[in-house]
C-alpha cells in the first residue's frame, strides 16, 4: 500500500512539474518527492524512484552537474537522516529547502541569484508540496 501511494504521488509530482512549466514556473516537485521518500524508504526503494525520476525527466539530456545533484541529493538526505535521526516533518522541510537551493546554486548559480525571488517561490511551493506528500504517505 505504501508503495502504491508512493507511485501515485510520484506520478502526481511529475505531472505538476510538467504542467507548471508552460505557466512560467518549473517547480522541483519530483526532487521534492524524492527528498520526502528519503525519509520513508530504504536504500533500494529510494534508488528505484530516483532512477525513475531520472528517466522520466530525461536528465541525461541535461548537464552532468544537474544529473549528479538530482541523483545525489536524495541519497545525501537519506544518509543524513540515518546518521542523525530527526522528525520527518521538520527534516523533510529542511531537506527540501536545502536540496533545492543547493541544486539551483550548483546548476546555474548566476541565474539563481538573478532570479532569487523565483527560487524562493519554488522553495516555498515545494515545502508545501513535500509536507502534503508526507501527510499523504503517513496518513
Amino acid at each position: 500500500m505504501k508503495h502504491i501511494s508512493a507511485i501515485i504521488i510520484f506520478l502526481l509530482a511529475v505531472m505538476l512539474q510538467l504542467w507548471f512549466a508552460p505557466a512560467g514556473m518549473r517547480g522541483d516537485f519530483v526532487l521534492t518527492a524524492l527528498i520526502v521518500f528519503a525519509f520513508l524508504f530504504e536504500f533500494w526503494e529510494l534508488s528505484v524512484f530516483v532512477l525513475l525520476g531520472f528517466l522520466v525527466l530525461n536528465l541525461s539530456f541535461y548537464s552532468v552537474v544537474a544529473m549528479i545533484f538530482f541523483v545525489g541529493l536524495p541519497f545525501v538526505v537519506y544518509f543524513l537522516r540515518k546518521r542523525f535521526p530527526m522528525n520527518p516533518w521538520l527534516g523533510s522541510a529542511v531537506g527540501i529547502a536545502g536540496s533545492i537551493v543547493v541544486f539551483y546554486i550548483a546548476t546555474a548559480p548566476f541565474s539563481a541569484f538573478q532570479n532569487a525571488g523565483l527560487v524562493l517561490i519554488d522553495v516555498l511551493a515545494c515545502i508545501v508540496f513535500g509536507e502534503l506528500v508526507l501527510c499523504g504517505m503517513e496518513g
Binding site: L11, V14, M15, L18, W19, A21, P22, G24, M25, R26, D28, L31, W44, E45, S47, V48, L51, L52, F54, L55, V56, L57, N58, L59, S60, F61, Y62, A66, F103, Y104, T107, A108, S111, A112, Q114, N115, L118, D122
Partner: protein, 225 residues
C-alpha cells in the same frame, strides 16, 4: 523476505538504468503521456504566429511600402538549450555561436516573431536577451498607422509612450522600428490599452502567439547594422 525484496528492487533499478542508457526515449514517451502537449508544426499556436507575422507585413506595406526589405538575410537555425530546473524567460542559451557567424546584436526569431537579441557569443553557443527581460527596450510601431512607441521588457512586456491621441486598439500588431534591429519584425499584438499614470501617454500590454518556455528552436537573423 527482506533479502528477496532487495533483489527485486535491485533488478528493477538495473532495468531502469538500462532504459536510461539505451532507451531514453521511453522517458520522453512517459513525459508526453503525463505532460502538456508540446507545440507541433501545424497547431493553432503556429497559425497564430503566422497570422501575426502577416499582420506585421500588412502594417508595414500599408505604412511604409517603399521601405519594405527586398531580401531576407541569411538565418541560422539554432536549438535552445534547456536550463532545467529553470524556466526563466529573460534569456535563452542557443547552440550556435561565432563559428556559425552569430554575433552580438543579431536578432533571434521564433516563427517569424522577434523574441530576443543576441547578447554574447562564444565559439559554439550564444546567449540572447529576450523581450521578457526587464532591461529589454526597443522602439516599435503599432498597427497600420504606425504609431511610435517603446517596448519595455519584463515578465509582462509593455508598450509605453504611445501618443495620447493614437487610435490604438486590441489586436493591433506591434513591430520593430528600432535602428538596432531589422525593420518591421513582428513582436506581438496589443492586448489592453490604458492611460499611463502620468496622463501624458497611453500604454498597452501585449499578447504573444507563443509560449516562451516551450520554444525549442529559433532562427538567428544577422543584424546588418
Amino acid at each position: 523476505m527482506q533479502y528477496h525484496q532487495s533483489w527485486f528492487l535491485g533488478i528493477v533499478a538495473a532495468l531502469l538504468l538500462f532504459f536510461i542508457v539505451f532507451m531514453p526515449m521511453l522517458g520522453v514517451r512517459v513525459r508526453e503521456l503525463l505532460g502538456p502537449q508540446v507545440a507541433t508544426s501545424n497547431n493553432s499556436e503556429q497559425l497564430a504566429a503566422e497570422n501575426e507575422s502577416l499582420k506585421a507585413q500588412l502594417a508595414e506595406l500599408t505604412d511604409v511600402e517603399k521601405e519594405m526589405p527586398t531580401s531576407t538575410p541569411n538565418a541560422v537555425r539554432a536549438m535552445v538549450y534547456s536550463e532545467y530546473p529553470f524556466n526563466f524567460k529573460n534569456e535563452m542559451t542557443l547552440n550556435a555561436g561565432i563559428t556559425d557567424n552569430v554575433a552580438a546584436k543579431d536578432v533571434v526569431m521564433f516563427q517569424e516573431n522577434l523574441v530576443g537579441i543576441i547578447e554574447s557569443s562564444a565559439a559554439h553557443r550564444s546567449v540572447a536577451q529576450t523581450i521578457f527581460d526587464p532591461n529589454f527596450k526597443l522602439h516599435v510601431r503599432i498597427g497600420s498607422s504606425g504609431y511610435d512607441a517603446l517596448l519595455v521588457g519584463g515578465a509582462y512586456p509593455m508598450v509605453e509612450s504611445i501618443a495620447k491621441n493614437a487610435a490604438v486598439s486590441a489586436g493591433d500588431i506591434v513591430y520593430s522600428a528600432d535602428a538596432n534591429v531589422p525593420y518591421a519584425m513582428s513582436l506581438g499584438e496589443i492586448a489592453n490599452v490604458s492611460l499611463a499614470a502620468d496622463n501624458l501617454f497611453q500604454e498597452a500590454s501585449l499578447s504573444f502567439p507563443y509560449d516562451m518556455g516551450m520554444i525549442q528552436t529559433v532562427e538567428i537573423v544577422k543584424n546588418a547594422q
